[in-house]
Structures are given as structure tokens and as C-alpha cells.
């Protein structure tokens, strides 16, 4: 790495001569090495899916979830350093609570992501260190349809049609681009998301993994939910069959 030994990576407040902030880039690495997470906005909803790495068989089922509710309609998915992400979730939660107190209505998704992004940014510069986490925020309602945001360790906050982060993000993005996502409803998205996650796995390295998903859309009445285990299992079954079928054709 060009940064090593140059001394420009010792603080998040120091730019390198070519205008980079290495500490933030290192934090981004924590996300890039995490289990792949994809999020897709479809015809009438948003689906998030993450390939969760189970580091020990002794953990209870669904320990350390990566998909959360911020309020009834806004969902969050985290990738990267787990405690950092968990803390970010708690921050987002507090913000949603404050919003509900001040305005007496649920906090909209763009406000949540914006406020989290601002916090991530100021935490890096003014408080301590970068967050080693990226966070997706999704919601759906009749008026504005599905919305999907990603907050990165740099504090960057963009809205997406679909995106992928983590280990195999490039392959995942290539797969997503092949889909006509505007025509897919959330049932289809769950299946396709499972297919993409499974298809881009490195069979030698990615062992002890589990898919966790979240969805929000017309079918869930605008409520964000962690997708039930049996629905995920059915999607995986469909995906495996589909992938086998594709292999036969080759």
C-alpha cells in the first residue's frame, strides 16, 4: 500500500499529498472484506440480502442479526465491523425516536440516512475514528414508491436503484445489472437476491454462511420486516435449482 510508511495514514484529519484520507480508506476495507450484501429496489418494494458469515457453530440461531428496523417503515442493513454497525443502528434508532417526539410522525428514510451520514462524518473528523461500517436504508410507500440509500464510512450518502457491498460486490453488481429490476416485485427480488448471493460465493472459501434478508413493499403494507426464515429457505431452494439448471445448459 502506497500509504504505509509515508505517515499520512496516522490520523483521519490528515490528507495525503494526492488528496486522500487513508484512515477512511482503511475503514472502507472493513466493509469490502465483509460478507456480500446486496440491496435492490424493484417494482413495488425494496429487498436487502446479506451473506452472513457464521464464525462459530456455537452461536445460537440468528445471533448477531444484520438487518434491523429503525421504525415500522424504515429498515437498515449493516456490513463491515459488527459493533460499529450495531452502534450506528442504535444512533439511527435514537434519531427516529427524537423525530417521533418532535414531529409526532415516523422519520422518513431519507432523513434517517442523512442524519446517520452526517454523524458518521463528524465522528470521523471531530470525535474519534471512522466507522468501519456501511449501512443500507430502505423503505416503501404508495406516494413515493421504494427508496434505497447507502451510507459509507466516509459519510457519503447516495440513493440507489440497486447496489452491492462487501466481498463479492463487483460480481454481485454485474449480476444485478442483468436483471430488469423495475419489473420485479419483492417476491421475485427475494428469489433473485438469493440466487445472486449463492452464485457469487467462492465455494472454497465461503463456508459457514447464512443468508439473511429484509424486505419492505406493497405486500408488507409499507412495513419493513426481516424476511421469515421459511421464505428465505424457499428462495434458496429455488435459487439452487435455478443454478443447477443453468449449469446443465452449459
Amino acid at each position: 500500500m502506497s500509504s504505509i510508511g509515508t505517515g499520512y495514514d496516522l490520523a483521519a484529519s490528515t490528507f495525503s499529498p494526492d488528496g486522500r484520507i487513508f484512515q477512511v480508506e482503511y475503514a472502507q476495507k472493513a466493509v469490502d472484506n465483509a460478507g456480500t450484501m446486496i440491496a435492490i429496489r424493484g417494482k413495488n418494494g425494496v429487498v436487502m440480502a446479506v451473506d452472513k458469515v457464521i464464525t462459530s457453530k456455537l452461536y445460537t440461531d440468528n445471533a448477531n442479526p444484520r438487518i434491523f428496523n429503525i421504525n415500522d417503515s424504515v429498515g437498515m442493513g449493516i456490513a463491515g465491523n459488527y459493533p460499529d454497525g450495531f452502534n450506528l443502528k442504535n444512533y439511527a434508532y435514537g434519531e427516529a425516536m427524537k423525530w417521533l417526539k418532535d414531529y409526532r410522525e415516523p422519520m422518513p428514510v431519507n432523513k434517517v440516512s442523512n442524519s446517520v451520514a452526517e454523524y458518521v462524518h463528524i465522528f470521523t473528523l471531530g470525535i474519534s475514528r471512522p466507522y468501519g461500517t456501511s449501512a443500507f436504508f430502505g423503505s416503501w410507500n404508495k406516494q413515493e414508491g421504494g427508496r434505497l440509500f447507502l451510507v459509507e464510512p466516509s459519510g457519503l450518502n447516495y440513493e440507489y436503484k440497486a447496489w452491492a457491498i462487501g466481498k463479492h460486490r463487483q460480481a454481485a453488481k454485474a449480476e444485478i445489472e442483468k436483471l430488469k429490476i423495475d419489473t420485479l416485485d419483492i417476491q421475485d427480488l427475494v428469489k433473485e437476491a438469493a440466487r445472486i448471493i449463492i452464485s457469487i460465493r467462492d465455494e472454497n472459501k465461503d463456508k459457514n454462511v447464512q443468508i439473511e434478508m429484509g424486505w419492505v413493499g406493497e405486500q408488507t403494507n409499507g412495513k419493513y420486516e426481516t424476511v421469515p426464515e421459511d421464505v428465505v429457505a424457499a428462495a434458496e431452494e429455488w435459487a439452487n435449482a435455478k443454478l443447477d439448471e443453468d449449469d446443465m445448459e452449459d
Binding site: 428496523n69 421504525n71 415500522d72 427516529a96 425516536m97 417521533l100 417526539k101 409526532r104
Partner: protein
């Protein structure tokens, strides 16, 4: 520092108010009746306003007293519900009753009470699945934080007028009241408040929490009553 006129910072009078709440257990749930008028003093200022707040599928909170205070309370409850969801739980009637009791008591200890009588009605999620032991819940909290559980209740002026009448009807059947029977008692009770309470209204609603159906908000209903008794009131011409 300028002298603090403490007494000026307190709600010394409610402004827009609701009157009685009448609630009763039946075999598998609770029925709660409120009228739908908001009074500004003695004037019927707003019509068609509900005093029943659905917290979730298991809990219904109903109130008498100041509307503004209750609207604030609704927000407090909403936030409490969100807080519980953070730990993957849904608040039940007993827990909410306890929470609101502490809140109202704390406020009265600050000499700044919330001007409400609250009726928390519902069924506990665990008990829903066990019909044998299932007991519907009705909890009362007065303005001063005095809280208790009952099988039937009337608050406001109804507390003076109706509690005995409602109890008599309830005792005839014990715990075996059907929903229809309970609602009939409530309607009769409303008729009595209508005759005796000048801020009671004849437009009303009956909400319920049932072990099978969860919270069902009531539709607007109207009664006329029998006003021939007015003839016998010698204050009238």
C-alpha cells in the same frame, strides 16, 4: 434571576375535555364505550372526535379529561411502543398500565398533573393462546396516579352515577357475560349519563379488545333515549 411564579407554569384547568368512559369485561375480552364530543367548558365545541387510541393489536387506551394532554400522551405511548420493538417485543396492557401509572404519579408529585383519567384495556399476548386462563384486563389510572384493576368501571361523572348500576348488571351474569350483553349494559349506562351529565353526548362508539380478534375500534353510533321524563322535571316549564 427574575422571581419564578411557579403556580403560573401549571395546568390549573383543563380546556378541551372528554367526559365519562365506561368499560366492562365479557367472556373473552373487554368492551369500552366513550362518547364522541369535545367540550370547551360546558360547550359542545367539537363533534366526531374519538377518545379511543389503539396502541397495538392487544391494547386499547381510552381517556376522559383534557384532549391536548392525551394527544401528548399518545405520542409518549407511541415512542414507548417503538422502544419495546427495539427489543423485539410488543407492549402489553399490564406493562403499559404500569408505565402510565408511574408517569401520572410522577407528574402529580411535581405538582403538574396530566389532566386525564385513563382506562387501559386489553389482553396479554401469552394469555391469548391459552383461552382457559385468559382474563381480559381493565386498568384505571386517575389524574393523581391512583391506579387499580377492575372488571367493570365508569369514570368521570359516571363514577358517581353509574358504578353501582354497572356492577349490578355485571353480577347478574358473573364472568359469563357475552359481548352483546356487555354492550347492552354500556348503552344503557350511556343513556343514564346523557340524562344526568350535561357534557355527555348521544353520539358514541364502543371499542373492544377480544382474545380472538384483537383490538376492534367501534363505529359511530347514536341513541336518542326517552325524554318524556323531562316533563316531570319541575325546573322546566
Amino acid at each position: 434571576m427574575a422571581p419564578v411564579h411557579d403556580e403560573l407554569q401549571r395546568t390549573l384547568n383543563p380546556t378541551c375535555t372528554g367526559a365519562s368512559v365506561i368499560a366492562m369485561q365479557y367472556k373473552t375480552g373487554v368492551v369500552v364505550m366513550t362518547d364522541r364530543v369535545v367540550s370547551y367548558g360546558k360547550m359542545a365545541r367539537y363533534k366526531n372526535v374519538s377518545r379511543q387510541y389503539k396502541v397495538n393489536d392487544n391494547v386499547l387506551v381510552t381517556f376522559g379529561g383534557d384532549h391536548a394532554d392525551f394527544q401528548w400522551l399518545q405520542n409518549v405511548i407511541e415512542r414507548q411502543v417503538l422502544l419495546w420493538k427495539r427489543f423485539d417485543q410488543d407492549i402489553g396492557p399490564k406493562a403499559l398500565h404500569g408505565y402510565l401509572t408511574s408517569l401520572l404519579y410522577a407528574r402529580r408529585c411535581k405538582m403538574n398533573p396530566l389532566w386525564n383519567t385513563l382506562v387501559v384495556a386489553g389482553v396479554e399476548e401469552e394469555e391469548k393462546n391459552n383461552k382457559e386462563t385468559s382474563t381480559p384486563f381493565i386498568g384505571i389510572i386517575t389524574q393523581k396516579g391512583c391506579a387499580y384493576q377492575v372488571k367493570h368501571v365508569a369514570t368521570g361523572l359516571g363514577a358517581f352515577l353509574l358504578n353501582q348500576a354497572v356492577e349490578d348488571e355485571f353480577r347478574k351474569k358473573g364472568d359469563e357475560l357475552t359481548r352483546q350483553e356487555a354492550e347492552a349494559v354500556l348503552k344503557k349506562a350511556l343513556e343514564l349519563t346523557l340524562y344526568h351529565d350535561c357534557v355527555a353526548d348521544n353520539d358514541f362508539e364502543i371499542g373492544r379488545v377480544d382474545a380472538n380478534e384483537g383490538v376492534v375500534l367501534g363505529k359511530e353510533q347514536t341513541i336518542i333515549g326517552d325524554w318524556s321524563i323531562a316533563e316531570t322535571n319541575c325546573q322546566y316549564e
